[in-house]
């Protein structure tokens, strides 16, 4: 699978900028970055819910960027989304069983009896009690709502699942339950997943490959163990230092610093806030390149360009 959207709006700070990323089938790609770094834009771009200015998106060998609207709709049963706020994503006047069945009805998959069977399987799969089938979304707890969203996303047996901050609205114990569930489901069903989060600890648990985004650019990309044991980009280092400091610290990671000066065109996008900045960083734009082939480790930083 190859994903290569590149999407540039008028203001160069929003959107995505020359982003390349590849997600191998059956793996989880964890995308981490602060808010406004373009993580969600990428998710939308993959589904063509925003317009691409340039670039290509390939999912399952399909050139998503060239499809017509009808073809796109047919493809979307293979690509499903889970959102951050389940209550906002569910129809408040639709009962749970209908909400989960809706994608099957829309894509006309299976007969009525098969759909009913599938519904029962889905309830079991995500750990929901059958007795909740005739409830409305507001009658469920946050964790149950998110389980409904997962069941609905899995209803069409998608090969690619995009999860955009699926656990950030939940209490900590429920958050851990949902993360465990997602990993079990992936092992069982074998789908590919793009998991978006601002939380490095969540990403470390769920992702096989990790990409670090900043202002619409991918700054570092490597396998989970490589990235967490040997972070190379100064931005990744500072993120890890802030997260690793743990909950005891009273003040950490002043985000003012991360949101530093707006860098000039033709400079490294992180040069305004970089602690390891050099003079050349404000004059040259780094490119994302291998610093290590096996295991693959990509970094976009002028420190690694020679």
């Amino acid at each position: 699978m190859k994903l290569w959207p590149s999407y540039n709006k008028q203001a160069p700070r929003v959107g995505l900028n020359n982003l390349d990323l590849i997600i191998p089938a059956g793996k989880t790609y964890g995308l981490v970055g602060e808010s406004g770094s373009g993580k969600s834009t990428l998710a939308l771009a993959l589904l063509r819910l925003v317009k691409l200015d340039a670039g290509e998106v390939w999912i399952n060998g399909q050139a998503i960027h060239t499809l017509s609207q009808a073809e796109l709709r047919a493809q979307r049963q293979h690509i499903q989304l889970i959102f951050q706020n389940p209550l906002a994503a569910l129809d408040p006047r639709q009962m749970i069983d209908n909400a989960i069945l809706e994608p099957l009805n829309l894509h006309k998959i299976g007969t009525a009896i098969q759909r009913k069977q599938q519904l029962r399987n889905l309830f079991e799969l995500v750990g929901l009690s059958q007795s909740l089938a005739n409830r409305y979304p507001h009658q469920l707890s946050g964790g149950q709502q998110q389980r409904v969203m997962i069941a609905r996303a899995l209803a069409c047996r998608p090969s690619f699942l995009i999860a955009d901050e699926p656990v950030s609205a939940l209490d900590a114990p429920i958050q851990a339950q949902i993360l465990n569930l997602l990993r079990e489901l992936q092992a069982e069903l074998g789908f590919t997943m793009l998991f978006i989060s601002h939380d490095l600890a969540v990403i470390q648990f769920i992702a096989d490959i990790v990409g670090v985004m900043y202002q619409g650019e991918l700054l570092e990309q490597a396998e989970n163990e490589v990235l967490f044991n040997n972070p190379c980009h100064p931005y990744t280092e500072s993120l890890l230092a802030a997260a690793g400091a743990g909950i005891q610290t009273t003040r950490l990671n002043p985000p003012e610093q991360a949101r530093g000066k707006n860098p000039l065109a033709g400079s490294c996008c992180y040069s305004g806030s970089c602690l390891r900045g050099m003079a050349v960083c404000s004059q040259q734009t780094p490119t994302l390149r291998y610093i290590n082939k096996y295991p693959p480790h990509w970094v976009k930083c002028l420190h690694y360009e020679n």
Binding site: P173, F205, N224, P255
Partner: protein, 323 residues
């Protein structure tokens, strides 16, 4: 030091909810200048407690016990315009957008609070406004903007400025960062801590996020289904939680591990809100459960030093003392 807020054996139940109470026999003290954090999962009664403090309970609630703020008893159904215990309190809410008037500039909104509650001359009001904006870290041109022109973090700063303009000695913050994203969340928490220290405010911070509480509060109270299960200074809660629920909450906070974990530790199940339980509310999810836990309600015990209180028959052992 005498507590500025004293909650005594408070129970509240909503109409139509039968015998199920939202808040059960909670006793809690806040000392002047102290930051107290109230933690619990959604639906555990945190917000009900905050509303009771402000005298804003919805009509028809059944309540027992009392709240005393600065020596004055709180009237749970406060009518507006009368002097009351509420005059000592200011409150900020979860969603700043719904707390601000959309058709009036934020400067005017803060001004109105200053004019109403401070004894300043009219000519001094603009100076006070400028001072407040600096305190909460907003630039001066923000006063002319309307709420929709501000980001969530900036809106929450405006509400903090209004709370300070109230010149109250107690600030109640109900999930002030729940609607904000991660970066802004840290900024607002740091600001809360800074203001609390500078202005010597007493703060009650209500949150489901233990790590947020850790940044700001000296004293932490953990609530499960309307009951206090553990209450201790911040340091003790994080290093030696005694109640299994506190320990479970702590363990569930995502952390970066030296090795990628196979499974995250978490509490089993979800809080069930049935009212027919006689024993400990937490028994059905507890890993240290004994037969008697389901028959009897554990009282809130104190350790020898009395700094850490917990309601559990079979608490986690203290960590061995290192020599």
């Amino acid at each position: 030091m005498d507590p500025i807020v004293s909650i005594r054996d408070l129970s509240i139940s909503y109409p139509g909810n039968g015998s199920r109470s939202a808040v059960k026999h909670i006793s809690l003290d806040i000392l002047p200048g102290q930051a107290v954090g109230l933690v619990g999962e959604s639906g555990c009664g945190k917000t009900t407690l905050a509303l009771a403090l402000m005298g804003m309970l919805p009509p028809g609630c059944d309540h027992r016990g009392e709240i005393i703020i600065a020596g004055q008893k709180v009237d749970f159904y406060q009518r507006p315009g009368q002097p009351s215990a509420r005059d000592h309190c200011a409150m900020i809410f979860q969603n700043p957008q719904t707390s601000l008037n959309p058709v009036i500039s934020v400067g005017t909104q803060i001004n109105r609070v200053i004019q109403r509650y401070s004894r300043l001359k009219k000519s001094a009001v603009p100076d006070r406004l400028a001072e407040l904006l600096v305190l909460v870290g907003l630039s001066d041109h923000c006063r002319k903007l309307y709420p929709h022109e501000l980001s969530g973090g900036m809106q929450q700063r405006v509400l903090l400025a209004m709370a300070l303009a109230r010149e109250a000695s107690i600030l109640i913050a109900d999930e002030p960062t729940a609607a904000l994203d991660a970066g802004t969340r840290l900024q607002i928490l740091n600001l809360l801590k800074q203001l609390q220290e500078q202005q010597k405010l007493s703060l009650l911070l209500i949150s489901h996020d233990l790590s947020a509480i850790a940044r700001v509060c000296q004293q932490v109270v953990i609530v499960y289904q309307g009951r206090v299960v553990e209450q201790a200074p911040q340091k003790l809660i994080y290093t030696q939680p005694r109640h299994p629920y506190s320990a479970g909450l702590l363990a569930a906070i995502p952390k970066i591990h030296p090795q990628r974990p196979r499974k995250l530790q978490t509490l089993l199940g979800e809080a069930n809100h049935s009212s027919d339980q006689t024993g400990c509310d937490f028994a059905s999810r507890c890993s240290r459960r004994e037969a008697y836990c389901e028959q009897q309600l554990p009282p809130l015990n104190a350790t020898l030093e009395k700094s850490q209180q917990f309601a559990c028959f079979n608490p986690r052992p203290l960590p061995a003392v290192r020599k």
